[in-house]
Structure formats: C-alpha cells, structure tokens
C-alpha cells in the first residue's frame, strides 16, 4: 500500500512546525526589508544548463533532473544564488546598482536524508549585486548575524575566511588544477591526515608546505593571520588577508565581532565563491546554519559581469535549534443559538485581535463547555 507514502527526504509540516517557520520568515523578511532588500521569486525548475553554468557542475549528483516535453533537461533548483544571477542578467541590466534582493523558498537536493538534511528544504537569503569591496561584504555578514539574533538565537558563531588566502598559496605552490582541487577539499574537510600525507609527497617549498598544512586549524581572532608568515611573500594572499582584516574591523565597529571568528578552513563547497566566505554555527546543532560569500565571477557567466555577495540560511535547521513556538493572541470559541448575534460577536472580537472560532455544530452551552474541557486552550463566549 503506497497511498500514505511520501518521497524520501520530504516532509509534511504540521501547524506547530509551520508556525515556527512563519515566525522566522516574518522576522527575517522584516529585517531584510529594513536594509532595503526586496523579495524576488524564481521558477522552482531551471534548465540544467543554467544550474551547471552557475555551480560548475560539481553538484550534478545532487540534482533532481527530469525532461520537459521538448527534450530539455530540467532541474529542481538546488539553491537560489544561481537563479538570482540569471534573473538579474535577464531583467536588471538597466537597473541602478547596487541591487539588494532577497528570497524565501524551497530548494531540492538529492542527498542522503538524515537529521537536519532533507531533500526538500527551505532557505532564505540575500544577494547584494553590483558592489565590490569590503563594505558590501560587511553589510551581508552583519545582516546574517542580525537575522540570527532577530530570530531568537544568541549562542552562535560566524566563521570568516577569504578564499584568496588559500588560492594565493596554492598558486604559489605551482600545483596542477587537479592537485589544487584535492588540497582545497582536504583543507575544507579538515582532513589533516590526508593533507599532510599529500604535502609530504609534493615538491613544494618547506615554508609553504607548513602554511598549507596549518590552514585547516587556523581558527580564532585576527591573530591567527600572524601565524601565516607566508602571507607577506604572496601578493594575492596578502591582499586577501587585508580584506579579511578590514571586514573584521567593520564588523567590530558595528558591535558584532563577538560572534565572529576567523577560520582558514572555511572554503564553502560551491565553485563560484571568489572572496570573503563565511558560515554560521550553533553549538546545539552538529550542522551549519548558514553560509555565504562573495562570488564576483558568477554573473559574468550569464553575460552580465558584476561583483556580488550574499548568504543563505537553512530554515529547517534553524527550526531545530529554536523549536518553541512563540505566544500567539488569545483563542476564543463563540457559540450561541442566534446566528447573527454569534457572527457579530465573533467579528467584533476578531477586530480586537483575538483568534476566534465559531461553533459550527450547533451545540448547547453545556456541550461547548465539555468540548473545551476535553481540548483546552480556548475560552468560551456563549451568546444568549
């Protein structure tokens, strides 16, 4: 019997869960709007070409793919940044920049489902298009932190890094693209064992080896940059470190640096990131809550070269950390023999902000009292 099954990794959300979700969405949306961000909606399906142009093809295995009737290959969107880049390249070429956009939507990935990882999950996020530089990065990271706080989280950390540091060091090491990719992955996964084995075999300058080996564990305040003397000898990495310091300083001015740590191992899986990157964590959940960064080359792939930065946060994961539903207005149940009096009373009370159910079963006062005793949480108003 299959008529009660739902596809693996998808979920029904019941009223309590939806209430928590909507409360988070309301707070996040309000906050984004207060910074001048405007909401956009894109199609749930994109052509595979669009998704792969954006993500570089590394997430092919995670896509839900199917064909349309004209033979095109469609993908359920695996994330929103690529769709927004495509949207901007199509519709916003004549707009004033910077543009500030946000979204709240479901995305789909064919992953192994487990706690905090579903095949259909909900994301909200912002994209700041057309602004290069540290002030834009600082704005996006500030909004990420403020959103977590607005939603009701206080115990969390945001890890910052700049992709240019690892890229600069890997370029200097003279590795081929495949080796670079492997090392990036090992640094990101903090696989210290494989990384040191690989570095041991590689014919790289000893000091550089040491720097690369230390990246995954450089974690803390800005002082971790001082543990990378290689930075001074590498123009790309030095510039990246300067940007990182500047962003950190800007966050400090905004009073947000308590939540921020520098973590040289944060590289973000997706290929499109080019500069600052960051991730958010709560000690109450073994998986990340949000991630984002600068992606200055992505828009160009859609024929509209433009610097950009943004982040996405996982609403399902936030819900696991928050759990509790906030207090709502008082609930009332209005009953009575005179329909017009009942309706008038109910509407009056709704006007005062109460949540009002009316009796639709034609019950007596005693029966309604029994009903409420069996299922409390409402007060009875009986109109005689």
């Amino acid at each position: 019997m299959r008529n009660r099954e739902i596809p693996r990794g998808t979920r029904d959300l019941l009223p309590d869960e939806v209430a928590v979700k909507r409360q988070m969405e309301d707070k996040a949306g309000k906050l984004f709007r207060s910074y001048g961000y405007e909401e956009v909606i894109t199609p749930t399906v994109e052509f595979l070409e669009v998704v792969e142009t954006g993500t570089g093809g590394s997430i092919r295995e995670e896509l839900f793919l199917f064909m349309d009737r004209e033979g095109g290959i469609l993908s359920l969107r695996p994330e929103m940044t690529v769709s927004i880049a495509r949207l901007a390249a199509t519709h916003l070429q004549d707009a004033g920049f910077p543009q500030r956009l946000f979204y709240m939507t479901n995305v789909f990935r064919h992953v192994q489902p487990h706690l905090a990882q579903y095949r259909e999950f909900w994301q909200t996020g912002i994209e700041l298009l057309g602004a290069p530089g540290v002030y834009a990065d600082a704005e996006v990271i500030s909004i990420a932190i403020n959103t977590l706080q607005a939603i009701g989280l206080d115990n969390f950390k945001v890890s910052l890094n700049h992709i240019g540091i690892v890229n600069g060091l890997l370029d200097a090491a003279g590795l081929n693209p495949e080796e670079k990719e492997t090392m990036r992955r090992l640094i990101e996964e903090k696989d210290l064992v494989e990384l040191s084995a690989l570095l041991e075999q590689a014919s790289i300058d000893e000091a550089l080896k040491e720097a690369l080996a230390s990246l995954p564990v450089l974690h803390g305040g800005l002082e971790v940059l001082q543990r990378l003397p290689q930075l001074e000898r590498n123009a790309t990495a030095a510039q990246a470190a300067q940007d990182l310091i500047k962003v950190y300083d800007l966050l400090k001015i905004s009073g947000l640096s308590d939540h921020v740590v520098v973590d040289m191992g944060v590289l973000r899986g997706l290929d499109y990131y080019t500069g600052m990157v960051f991730e958010g964590y709560s000690p109450d959940l073994g998986y990340g809550l949000l991630g984002g960064g600068r992606y200055d080359n992505l828009m160009g792939k859609f024929g509209f070269p433009l610097p950009a930065t943004g982040f996405a946060m996982g609403l399902d994961r936030l819900a696991l950390v928050l759990k509790q539903r906030e207090a709502e207005p008082e609930r009332l149940l209005v009953g009575g023999r005179n329909y017009s009096a009942v309706i008038a009373k109910a509407n009056e009370l709704r006007g005062h902000g109460f949540i009002v159910e009316t009796d639709v079963e034609g019950l007596s006062k005693a029966e309604l009292e029994q009903k409420i005793a069996a299922n409390p949480g409402r007060d009875l108003i009986f109109v005689d």
Partner: protein, 217 residues
C-alpha cells in the same frame, strides 16, 4: 556550568592503546575499563565525558554531534562515508583493505577480476574501489567469515581487512591487491571543532606531539 567535551571511544582492540594515549595526553581515564559494562563515563572535574561505542557507530555519534570528537579506524570512516573532520593519524590499529582470492589466483591482475563476484563486509569500499578502476563486479555483502566465500563458491574473491595476513593464509587465500592502508584516527564534529575550539585544538596539538614521538602501547 562547565561545557563537557564528549569523546566517542571504539570498544574492542582499539580501546587499550587509546586509553594509553589518553593517559599520556593527560586526559582522565580512571575507572574506564575495557571490561566495564558502563556505556558513559563522566569526569565532572575535567568536564570530559566518554561514550563507549561499537567502532562502526563512532562516526555516527561524531557526525550527529552526540560526541564532539571520536577515536575510530580509517577503515570505518571510509566505509561509512560520514562527514567528520579527520584531525590526527594515531598510527596504531594498523590494518589494510585488500582484495584476496584462492591461492590458485596468485599473481592475477586486477583487470582479470572484471565481472567477478566479490564477497565483503565492506560493500561501499569494495564497490567504490572497483568502480574507480573502471571495473564492474557483483558485490555480495556478508556479515562475517568472509574467507569462507571463495571456499564455498559463493564468490570468486573477497575484499577484507587484514592486519597480519594469518587468517588469509589459514584459509588458503592470497592477497591480490592492496586497496588502502588504515590506522586509527582522531576525528571531530564539524561544528564542535568551531564551537569548542578552545578545548579541541589544544587536545589535537597534544595528541599530535605524542604521536610524533611514538605511542606507547
């Protein structure tokens, strides 16, 4: 209230060398006995908690964040494919994944194994290895005594963990190909590493130092 650092330990052969290492590192081990039936050991003073797990469960506990760090064999990490940070190679608990077959197959080359039947307790590992070599095999999952499979004719070769090779020899099997070496690893949860960095990073550094000098068994 002190925040605990929770460590998942593999029961069985790895436990003894792990406890020896922990003593050297200065972690509390008093009363943590291999024979004990306790599953959780709490050291309030040091804010350390140990969870005693089957080795195959350690990556699960660590990935989910039920444990912040864990001690487990590389073989288990590979087979389970869990998303954990691999911080230190502890060097002990050495074994290797091999493809082995009846003595008559001695010297057989890998490509001769194409379309053969492979019995193993590690189907993920076996499948991935042959696929990466461009070969297709039929993987037969068994839960133990894999050496029996070629003798009884349910498989042509086996993929198994070998440390000395004695079991293979006893069953008249020979090692054909080594897939990979495995030793014990100190692993960490992705988020714990960041949220409890001030506890985990010094631990990693102390362990690294000791491992470099060779672990007392």
């Amino acid at each position: 209230m002190a925040e605990y650092l929770t460590i998942a330990l593999s029961k069985g052969t790895l436990l003894k060398p792990t406890l020896a290492l922990f003593r050297q590192v200065g972690l509390p081990t008093e009363g943590v006995e291999p024979e004990s039936r306790n599953m959780v050991f709490t050291f309030e003073q040091e804010a350390i908690k140990y969870i005693m797990c089957r080795p195959t469960d350690v990556p699960v506990y660590v990935e989910q964040g039920a444990a912040d760090v864990g001690v487990v064999g590389k073989d288990v990490i590979v087979e389970q494919g869990k998303d954990v940070f691999e911080m230190v190679d502890l060097k002990y608990g050495y074994c290797r994944f091999v493809v082995a077959g009846p003595a008559a197959m001695q010297g057989a080359r890998l490509k001769e194994l194409n379309y053969k039947r492979v019995a193993t307790k590690f189907p993920v590992m076996a499948e991935r290895f042959f696929r990466s070599q461009g070969l297709q095999v039929e993987v037969i999952k068994l839960h133990g005594n894999v050496e029996l499979a070629p003798l009884t004719g349910i498989a042509d070769v086996i993929v198994d963990l070998v440390s000395t090779g004695a079991t293979l020899r006893e069953n008249n099997l020979v090692e054909l190909v080594k897939i990979m070496d495995s030793t014990t690893r100190l692993v960490s949860n992705r988020v714990s590493y960041r949220t409890k960095h001030e506890k985990i990073q010094p631990l990693i550094e102390r362990v690294q130092e000791i491992v470099k000098g060779g672990v007392g068994q």
